[in-house]
């Protein structure tokens, strides 16, 4: 087999190269030739093609994502912003928290179990790479119709994949989302979030500093799996000597990752690395170019030394392989023995494969020949940037105009009772415990709140009870109606969810799931959503710390509903003061906070009852969100709240359902005088929450609201002795009947 060396490349400038098959455009290929002053070797072409893929280079999104930095609110809490593996936030008392959400959509469609499992594995390594101990995961999921045959294939596999990987790592799963919509049928969304904790002085960065330092590849051996996974179009890889095409799915080994985590944490504790990077998308290509680009600038690598699972792999394949559970560290020669000893203790394979240099070049050898010699920045940071054409979708105005005001509404108590039951039993609002009971939420012993609470709450420090709260939210229907507002609505909901538990929102991560960036209408959705999110974050004072963009989520030419998913991190000084979701004290007074308007565009009611999408999403009022959050946080701190639950899809009706069913507590509701009962129950106006307050705290609580100018309406009383949801003059619904409807939907489909 012939090796394409640097020398050979210089001598054979006209040899045709399969750049197009690797997903590279002609002008991109020309730029590589210009950078190198010759044609690339096939290994160099492999590196550039994966590093310049949409997935790794953000070429369609980069110009827009800049806004997150340009409009970032000033906050002392941000220790590391976008650009590293994950952002880091100061949460006080010397603790730093790092968190990020990432997609694994396409692999999860091809092989649901492994796709979702390796999605969890990848994001956990990103968090670990920052120097943190991963402490929890969350998963935000979207599937096609619940009764579609393919959903029966995809959903259970995704759930076992997330469950088995996260459970085996010993990471509690503390929240997420599950939605069903036809648009996701050929494109399920699997977004995984991981959060990690470290001391503020323990942050690690991905850079190869210090000439003479050793480059160590450790963890699993490199195999032929996942080749081409990174580059959207790179499905046709090197067909060397009639070899069958390499599989594009990766298989995860959570046990290997678990020992890798413990091994890395021991290495960090002993301060044995100069820089560290995980191997995810684009594998070795990405790790070597990024580490070198961020450090002294050069690196020499002997690829023959990379431990292989499959000895037939050629250098191009080794460079592109996305085998899981691998890491790369830069270690000083003095610390090398100690580093290798920790790896040996954990039975983790570790091999020195290179050295840091100050040449400004990434050089690789194979069988004694030079096969790569390139300036690493050009691959890692100077990829192409596209200003893609942007055009409002042709049907956007019509969609907004047809607001569904004439959709028939239920008029009497029994019709409203039936509507409430139908929504609660609908796939999007139904009980998700068939899914979440497959996830360990107890492990580590620091989970204070987990699903189905509004946000997951974790204790960080056993001595002070300082903790964090996390929520993920996104609503594709709202975003389809108005992507600018839709992104802000997702942001507002995540913010509200965190505040509902009593935590102060601090920072944001996001996963932007969209169709093809080559479609100007999708690009319009994308840019509007990014603008909305950046503006919203500025107003709310919560910076974007990182995230991920997933394009090409479409079936044929039909894109998914545009789905920005927002992850919000909050901090709470004392987790013992967190507010849970469910009613729990007899005779506690129930209040509705905020204003209710007639807002049904994109609502769950229009979707479930009429299969309708049109009009405008609910009004965004970020100032109101801040006001509401302030009251929820301060009231929690002062111990005024027995329960709090934010209002979202399904409105007040669904908030009541969930607050009652959490602990089987009944409630008697009297809707405000003069309110249209249908609007009061089912509108999805934002900036609202449902709370219950012990009689003894009533005055203090209403005084607090009055002082802040937050509208508050007393709408009922908790009744522990009568297990029913009663709405005065309209209906009475025994909780047993309600639970049966709400809990049956998902098990009925998936057994």
């Amino acid at each position: 087999m012939s090796i394409d060396t640097v020398e050979n490349a210089a001598n054979t400038p006209d040899q045709p190269q399969p750049f197009a098959e690797l997903g590279m455009k002609e002008d991109e290929y020309a730029r590589v030739r210009e950078i190198l002053g010759r044609r690339p070797t096939s290994s160099e072409l492999a590196i550039y093609s994966v590093m310049w893929s949409e997935h790794c280079s953000y070429k369609s999104s980069r110009a827009h994502l800049k806004q997150f930095g340009d409009k970032a609110p000033q906050t002392a809490a941000l220790l590391v912003g976008p650009g590293e593996n994950a952002g880091v936030v100061d949460v006080g008392e010397g603790w730093a928290v790092t968190f990020k959400i990432e997609s694994h959509n396409h692999p999860s469609y091809v092989e649901p179990h492994q796709g979702a499992a390796t999605g969890v594995g990848g994001i956990v390594r990103d968090i670990l790479t920052m120097g943190a101990r991963p402490v929890a995961v969350m998963d935000s999921l979207r599937f096609g119709r619940i009764d579609a045959p393919d959903t029966a294939r995809v959903l259970p596999g995704v759930v076992t994949g997330i469950g088995s990987y996260g459970n085996c790592l010993g990471l509690p799963n503390v929240g997420g989302e599950v939605y069903f919509d036809e648009s996701y049928a050929g494109n399920p969304l699997v977004n995984a979030l991981c959060v990690g904790v470290m001391r503020t002085d323990g942050i690690k960065l991905a850079k190869a500093d210090g000439p003479g330092n050793k480059v160590v590849l450790f963890g699993a051996r490199t195999g032929g799996d996942g080749i081409g996974g990174a580059s959207v179009l790179a499905s046709a890889t090197f067909e060397t000597e009639g070899k069958t095409k390499r599989p594009s799915v990766q298989v995860g080994d959570p046990f290997a990752e678990k020992v890798l985590i413990e091994c890395c944490l021991e290495i960090f504790a002993a301060d044995l690395v100069v820089g560290i990077q995980d191997l995810g998308a684009a594998g070795l290509s990405c790790a070597t170019t990024e580490l070198a680009a961020a450090g002294t600038g050069g690196m020499d690598v002997d690829l023959d030394l990379a431990p292989l699972r499959d000895p037939t792999l050629v250098p191009e394949e080794i460079l592109m392989s996305e085998s899981q559970e691998r890491m790369m560290a830069v270690v000083t020669p003095e610390h090398l023995d100690e580093f290798l000893a920790v790896c040996a203790k954990w039975d983790v394979n570790a091999t020195v494969i290179g050295t840091v240099t100050d040449t400004g070049r990434l050089r690789m050898r194979w069988h004694g020949e030079q096969i790569v010699d390139l300036p690493p920045r050009t691959a890692a940071h100077e990829g192409p940037v596209y200003e893609r054409p942007i055009e409002k979708p042709y049907d956007q105005d019509a969609l907004n105009e047809h607001d569904g005001h004439d959709l028939p509404r239920p008029r009497n108590g029994s019709a409203m009772r039936a509507t409430l039951l139908r929504l609660a039993a609908g796939p999007n609002l139904a009980d998700k415990s068939w899914i979440t009971d497959q996830y360990d939420r107890f492990v580590m012993g620091n989970t204070v709140l987990a699903q189905p609470e509004d946000a997951g709450v974790l204790r960080l420090d056993e001595s002070t009870c300082r903790g964090i709260a996390l929520s993920t939210d996104g609503n594709g229907r709202y975003t389809r109606l108005d992507p600018y507002a839709g992104a802000q609505l997702a942001l507002a909901e995540a913010y509200r969810n965190v505040a509902t538990t009593g935590a102060r929102p601090l920072a944001v991560t996001n996963c932007l799931n969209f169709g093809s960036p080559e479609d100007p209408a999708v690009m319009w959705q994308f840019t509007e959503a990014v603008r909305g999110l950046a503006d919203g974050c500025l107003t709310l004072g919560v910076p974007v710390t990182g995230g991920n963009v997933s394009f090409y989520n479409q079936t044929g030419s039909t894109p998914i509903l545009p789905t920005p998913v927002i992850g919000m991190l909050g901090v709470i000084d004392d987790v013992a003061k967190r507010t849970p979701q469910g009613f729990r004290t007899d005779a506690a007074v129930v209040y509705l906070l905020g204003d209710t308007r007639d807002e049904f565009g994109g609502s769950e009611w229009a979707h479930v009852v009429h299969g309708y999408l049109g009009g405008q999403p609910p009004t965004v009022d970020l100032a109101r969100e801040q006001l509401l959050a302030g009251v929820l946080i301060d009231a929690a701190r002062d111990g005024l709240l027995d329960s709090a639950h934010d209002l979202a899809e399904g409105g007040l009706a669904q908030a009541l359902v969930e607050s009652c069913l959490r602990r089987d507590a009944g409630v008697r509701i009297d809707l405000p005088d003069g309110a249209d009962p249908f609007v009061a129950l089912f509108s999805e106006s934002t900036g609202r929450a449902l709370v219950s307050v012990a009689r003894s705290e009533e005055v203090r609580f209403t005084d607090l609201c009055a002082e802040r100018g937050l509208p508050v309406a007393r709408i009922g009383v908790v009744d522990l002795l009568t297990p029913a949801l009663e709405v005065h003059d309209l209906f009475n619904l025994p909780l047993r009947e309600l639970r049966t409807a709400w809990a049956a939907t998902i098990p009925h489909q998936f057994g």
Partner: protein
């Protein structure tokens, strides 16, 4: 009083078990799978998790760890040993307890707050409870179905060696609703549910699990 908590590669609830030991008032001592020494502990907890990934069979590979040889010998000499979840599986694979744990009958991992009844309040790990006491502690496993041949099951029942039983529905297909058993001497107990996740009101369903650790402390005192 020193209680060892073993860490195998893939152990997950070792920190939780150590915390429970501390909350009960004893000192927790970390034991490492590759180190045969028990470091003069007065009791051992084999925690939950996925030792060695549970890849072959749960607990099958851990059973051959150097530390287990010492644990097996000491247990046979009367050292109190509590195996939780994966630890229970290791105890069965080690033949310190009879039977085996197989895939849940519904074939899914299950994580829930589980109602249990303490049927034997005389073991080294259960004296704090009353016989017949009902408690709630978390259950989380994929392979928690207890099986043994009829003869063994009858023997366990006859000798009062069923320590805890599932109430309110069998969550995994365990024969005779068995959630935990002990050896004939009562010093070795295996449990599928996780008492170490129910030792603080803040992070568990309550504190019903603390009794297992307090019992040990009482017995050793």
């Amino acid at each position: 009083m020193r209680v060892g908590v073993v860490t195998f590669p893939g152990s997950l609830d070792d920190r939780d078990a150590a915390r429970a030991v501390r909350i009960a008032g004893a000192e927790s001592v970390a034991l490492w799978h590759a180190d045969p020494s028990l470091h003069e502990v007065d009791a051992v907890v084999l925690p939950g998790g996925f030792s060695y990934g549970d890849y072959l069979r749960c607990g099958a590979i851990a059973r051959f760890a150097p530390v287990m040889e010492s644990v097996i010998a000491a247990a046979n000499d009367g050292l109190p040993v509590l195996g939780i979840c994966n630890g229970f599986q290791v105890l069965c694979e080690s033949h310190l307890l009879p039977g085996a744990l197989i895939r849940n009958d519904h074939r899914k991992f299950v994580c829930k707050e589980q109602l249990l009844r303490v049927d034997n309040a005389a073991t080294a790990w259960t004296t704090e409870y009353r016989e017949g006491q009902e408690i709630v502690i978390p259950l989380k496993n994929g392979e928690g179905g207890y099986v043994a041949d009829e003869h063994t099951l009858d023997e366990l029942e006859a000798e009062g060696r069923v320590v805890v039983r599932y109430l309110n529905g069998n969550p995994n297909g365990s024969q005779r609703d068995i959630a935990g058993i002990c050896n004939a001497a009562g010093n070795v107990v295996g449990l599928m549910p996780h008492p170490e996740h129910a030792v603080e009101a803040l992070t568990g369903p309550g504190t019903d699990g603390l009794g297992f650790f307090l019992s040990l402390v009482g017995v050793l005192a």
